[in-house]
């Protein structure tokens, strides 16, 4: 972990972004609130007059309320795509129940004697509503708006997952990067917003009826003004839109590098990894921060742009094995090395595609692949000893572990077992040094940055050259842990900017520098 500056310095550095996100957050909260008031209040009034509808309307709004917010956002994407629309829609749906319900109960709790008097005085239904029912329901109605506002401020943080902006960008970016300052820079303003709005509406509630009237005239204007905050940041931009994960946004070898090294400035939204690929496919986004071997690259026909200035560190995969095991079973290394150089990026992508997207069994995918390459041999059911193969819980590991198992069983007298689904880098590596597993596939970049935690000065000299990184980690691992890096498998699972294949071809963009050139002229 690099040194983190103090919180005040961080806020100072990021002031522009913080302001932008805060305005977006306020905007998102109030646009949806405004729509919810415009629709919810009349609906609440309607159901006081048609009692039969009341149960249905309140029931539906109640069910909407119980849908987990992230799921609700998920439902919105197929209907409305990504960005502001689904976020506003979801926030609107959340705000609806408190507003309808409080309008309804607010009106029903007005003293019937007062209603009777008003009717007896000769008020029309409309006059009764505007002069008596609504003013007297106002404290309860405002309580509903208050609840809705606070809910919206909270849920609006999730908007960052679907490229709608807001303070969630800092919060989730901070979580992904384990950067406390960044988390706080998002969480503190969000909490303050909730507290301030809550207080403001509470004040409104306590005003005497007279003043509420005046205040209510200003409320719509205020709502519209606050809502319009959201539109401001969208005013600038480029012809192409990029969508980056919160983590990528904050990384040196991510968006910061793109700006510094390539000078790439483009309209960027923050988006969850879960929906990013699809959004590119659906043309909501043009450029995304993908992972080169992700199955979705294949599924959505995306093309990775060449990192011609080498800002993304190499993450070449290779099996790392306990030297002790290699000494004991000399036949192991040749068997494992059969995979060396065989799998390139697009092959790995294809394999991941089958497992992640087509839901095929990783063991079957592994065996099919080896068969196609002529590497599959019938298991010898040897009894010379056992070798335990580990793999991390996600990504390429599952498939690779299965391939190694088949190779070991086919080419040696050893019996291989797999222990897949080990939580993360640290768990896997500890299992290896403890001897609980004998080998697992690891990435050179991870070895350098996460396991060795090399100094910044060292990293800077190595990072642009794959071979240097590989040599460095090989040497250090052997010295420090007695662990051997076998030759790389061939693919590089790193960050890459990706575009739709068709669009990249149309615009003649193959590298990040091409992209920058294109943006300069469009």
């Amino acid at each position: 972990m690099e040194d983190q500056p103090g919180f005040p310095e961080f806020v100072q550095q990021q002031a522009g972004k913080l302001l932008e996100q805060t305005l977006q957050h306020i905007g998102l909260t109030f646009i949806s609130l405004l729509i919810a008031v415009v629709i919810g209040v009349p609906l609440g009034i309607l159901i006081t007059r048609r009692k039969k509808l009341a149960g249905i309307v309140l029931g539906i709004a109640g069910v909407l309320q119980t849908i987990p917010s992230i799921a609700l956002l998920g439902f919105m994407i197929p209907l409305l795509g990504i960005g502001a629309k689904p976020a506003i829609m979801a926030l609107f749906l959340y705000a609806l129940l408190p507003i309808i319900r409080n309008t309804y109960t607010g009106i029903l709790q007005v003293d019937p004697v007062v209603i009777d008097a008003a009717t007896g005085m000769g008020m029309s239904k409309r006059q009764l509503l505007y002069r008596v029912q609504l003013p007297l329901a106002m404290p309860v109605l405002l309580a509903g708006i208050r609840t809705a506002t606070v809910i919206n401020v909270g849920v609006a943080t999730l908007a960052a997952y679907i490229a709608a902006g807001g303070l969630g960008e800092f919060i989730f970016g901070g979580i992904a990067l384990n950067n406390t300052n960044m988390i706080l820079a998002g969480a503190i303003p969000a909490a303050l917003l909730a507290i301030i709005f809550d207080w403001a509406v509470a004040r409104l509630q306590k005003l005497r009826a007279q003043k509420v009237k005046t205040a209510l005239y200003f409320l719509p204007f205020l709502l519209v003004i606050l809502s319009s905050f959201y539109l401001l940041p969208a005013a600038y931009g480029s012809s192409l839109v990029a969508g980056f994960t919160p983590e990528f946004m904050g990384r040196k070898d991510g968006n910061l590098g793109l700006k510094q090294v390539y000078g790439l400035h483009m309209r960027t939204v923050v988006i969850s990894d879960m929906i990013m690929y699809k959004a590119a496919y659906e043309k909501t986004l043009d450029v995304i921060s993908g992972s080169t071997t992700d199955g979705r690259v294949r599924a959505f026909d995306l093309q990775a742009l060449t990192d011609d200035k080498h800002i993304f560190p190499p993450y070449y995969a290779a099996p790392i094995v306990r030297q002790e095991t290699l000494d004991k079973y000399p036949e192991l290394a040749p068997a494992l090395n059969k995979l060396s150089g065989i799998i390139n990026d697009s092959v790995m992508t294809e394999l991941n595609y089958r497992v992640d997207h087509l839901k095929q069994d990783p063991a079957a995918v592994a065996s099919d692949f080896l068969k196609a390459k002529g590497l599959l041999q019938v298991a010898k059911h040897g009894t010379k000893g056992t070798v335990v193969i580990g793999a991390k819980i996600f990504g390429d590991g599952y498939i690779l572990a299965n391939m190694y198992k088949l190779l070991v069983n086919g080419y040696t007298e050893l019996e291989a077992t797999t222990k897949t689904g080990l939580g993360g880098t640290k768990i896997c590596f500890d299992a290896l040094t403890n001897g609980q597993i004998d080998l697992y596939p690891e990435y050179s970049g991870t070895g350098l940055l996460v396991i060795l935690q090399a100094d910044k000065s060292v990293v800077d000299t190595l990072i642009s050259d794959n071979q240097k990184v590989y040599d460095y980690v090989s040497r250090e691992f052997m010295q420090r842990y007695h662990i051997k890096w076998l030759p790389p498998i061939g693919f590089n699972n790193t960050y890459a900017l990706m575009m739709r294949r068709q669009q990249a071809a149309d615009l003649h963009i193959t590298s990040i520098s091409d992209l920058k050139e294109y943006l300069l002229h469009h």
């Binding site: 008003a118 005085m121 007297l136 009826a209």
Partner: protein, 328 residues
């Protein structure tokens, strides 16, 4: 003018709340609907301003059926006082009083003048209460505001549902007295609902006694007391009969049994012929001396025994042919 003809009303449970009710109230007259609770008084009243629709029968206000009048316009021309005052809690005293004129689109200045003058008439301090909210007022003051609100647009008709019912006896007496002395009500058609017999006698020109949704008897207080049409009516007043009778009889009614004793040295008249026997008895006991009564132009001097003698004579005379004198 208000006229009801064979009006019936049942609620959803099917039990009739109002049965074949007919009566007529003229301009300048106050009719009191009297009866125990649940006897259909409120229902009858609320059918007049169309808060309840009758099942059958005719209701005329100012000679025209209420059904043919535009509902809101009809109601704006009918003052309505509710038992629990029904003031708008979010309106000031002035705004409450001015509500019907506002609905009628009077100009602001006229509304303000009218509000001030009504507040003064009802002894509500303009300086103190004009901008206050109803919750800041006492029960008696709230009821006065309710009264002022009903009178604000000077409606031809005034409907009052137990207007003093929620007040303590002392406050009730004083608000009632103010109401009685209001010149405003003298040219109006007033219907007031109450279950309080003395109140009915004090305020009603005529009383309509109801039981189980039906009218038992309609007539002046004296008619109901001295010529009841059935046992229900006579039993209804049994408890306070002596007091009621003294109250219901005017001195003119017993004039024929009073002697023509001319006052001696003191010629100042204390009472008039329009005053009740109760008023005379009160004066006689307070002063502990004979009092002068002015009948038309003639001044007569009576003492307590003479008053009670005449009163007894009157009763004997009316009860002699009393029961047979049915009132239609």
């Amino acid at each position: 003018m208000i006229k009801l003809e064979h009006v019936n009303k049942s609620f959803h449970n099917g039990k009739p709340a109002v049965r074949d009710v007919s009566f007529e109230v003229n301009t300048g007259e106050t009719l009191v609907l009297l009866g125990t609770s649940g006897s259909g008084k409120t229902t009858t009243l609320r059918m007049i301003n169309r808060l309840i629709a009758p099942d059958s029968g005719q209701i005329l206000v100012n000679g025209e059926s209420v059904n043919t009048q535009q509902t809101e316009a009809l109601r704006r021309n009918i003052g309505y006082v509710l038992q629990d005052n029904g003031l708008f809690p979010h309106y000031t005293v002035a705004e409450n009083i001015g509500i019907v004129p506002t609905l009628l689109k009077w100009d602001k200045k006229r509304i303000e003048e009218r509000t001030r003058s009504l507040m003064e008439k009802l002894r509500l301090s303009v300086a103190d209460h004009y901008d206050e909210y109803p919750q800041q007022l006492s029960g008696g003051q709230q009821q006065r505001v309710g009264l002022a609100r009903a009178l604000a647009a000077d409606p031809a008709v005034l409907l009052m549902d137990e207007p003093f019912g929620a007040l303590d006896p002392v406050t009730r007496a004083s608000v009632r007295k103010e109401f009685r002395s209001l010149d405003e009500i003298h040219n109006k058609t007033v219907i007031m609902v109450t279950h309080d017999v003395p109140e009915a006698f004090e305020l009603g020109n005529r009383i309509c006694l109801m039981d189980k949704g039906a009218i038992q008897q309609t007539g002046t207080p004296a008619e109901l007391l001295f010529n009841p049409v059935n046992d229900f009516v006579s039993n209804f007043f049994q408890e306070q009969r002596f007091w009621l009778e003294l109250n219901a009889l005017r001195l003119t009614d017993i004039r024929s049994w009073l002697s023509d004793t001319v006052p001696g040295e003191n010629h100042a008249p204390v009472l008039k012929g329009e005053d009740s026997c109760w008023d005379a008895l009160e004066q006689l006991t307070t002063l502990s001396a004979p009092v002068n009564i002015l009948f038309n132009d003639k001044l007569v001097r009576i003492d307590t025994s003479e008053l009670m003698h005449a009163f007894t004579q009157y009763k004997q005379t009316v009860s002699g042919h009393g029961r047979s004198t049915r009132l239609s």
